[in-house]
Subunit: 191 residues, 2 copies
Amino acid sequence: MTPFPTAPARALRSDAQRNRERLLEVAHAAFEEHGVDASLDDVARRAGVGIGTLYRHFPNRDALIESLIWADIERLVALAEELVADDVADGLERWLGAVVRHGITYRGLADSLVAASGAATVLGGLCDRLHGAGAAVVGHAQRRGAVRSDIDPADAVDMTAAIASITERDADDGRRRRLLQIAIDGLRTSS
Amino acid sequence: MTPFPTAPARALRSDAQRNRERLLEVAHAAFEEHGVDASLDDVARRAGVGIGTLYRHFPNRDALIESLIWADIERLVALAEELVADDVADGLERWLGAVVRHGITYRGLADSLVAASGAATVLGGLCDRLHGAGAAVVGHAQRRGAVRSDIDPADAVDMTAAIASITERDADDGRRRRLLQIAIDGLRTSS
DNA sequence: GAATATACGGAGGATCCCTCCGCTTTCCAA
DNA sequence: TTGGAAAGCGGAGGGATCCTCCGTATATTC
């Protein structure tokens, strides 16, 4: 697996390690509860840590978010590789479904991700990685003839991110599934 | 035309009327430049008006946004009525295109709109009105046989809003048009 | 030209962001 | 074991924003 891109060169001191983990834990809860605009002062407070400590570990909001979603993205990348390697028939549906359901955990995050696409943002790398995985899955579906050949795989991923973005707050899965189905139908080879 | 929902019951005093118009003017520019997070303090300052005056006219950020986009939404509603009345063949494409291109003037607004869907937000009414217009256009396309009958018109509108949301920052129209095409293909009767 | 309803303005309390730097803790070499 | 350098901690503080409140000023009406 690709190493975490901003991983520190040397091991952290034990107290720093402890604080970092506690911060990630609390931040995860805060973002889930309040969306990407959650207060970082509050995160530090709830983690029982000075605000300065938070900002040393994560120089800005995006860096903190990036650390949090890295694992999610890697999970999606791994799933993509697996589906392609095993030549799974409904791999496209399963992968896009995973992206829209579980890939984007925090409110407003899908937007940040897509907005950062290509930009010189810290989130840019994550976005590219997701696009890369999407290219593999969609490309595979195209070779199988399940997706029109004139579709840009990045567009398929963006479309899914758009749906994730808009259904983020939905309690049940209904609308999410319906919109994704429309998108997938739109990608299909018209027959 | 439906009267503005938060229109004051009685005529404003002349100075109040003047200030209100000036505020809307400046706010429009500010939102276009900085997105929905533009500073309201700054809007008041640039309008040459006290912050208290701004908040009396528009009790909160959403109320101000609502006032600004009302005209846009009404334009889309009118277009929908026209396309349906004239039985235009590619009415669906034209209307969704208008929604995605011109309907969403301010960065981040599409999100606010969809997030407010059904909620007890001030933006809820605008959202419902857009859904209503969408239902007319999509329903018409269904009757013509151009859209599958199992599509919920609201889903079609939400899908379009999702695309608008994610392509808001795009300078050129390429991705916007491609994603919309995928969505429209997904709505079509498979033949 | 009052009297009264309306509207104005901006000070102020609360919150948030992020930086800076003096103090504290950890760790390792002697 | 111990002491000092390296690494890390914390929170005060400047700047910005949000929104409320209320004393003052202006329009309108009679």
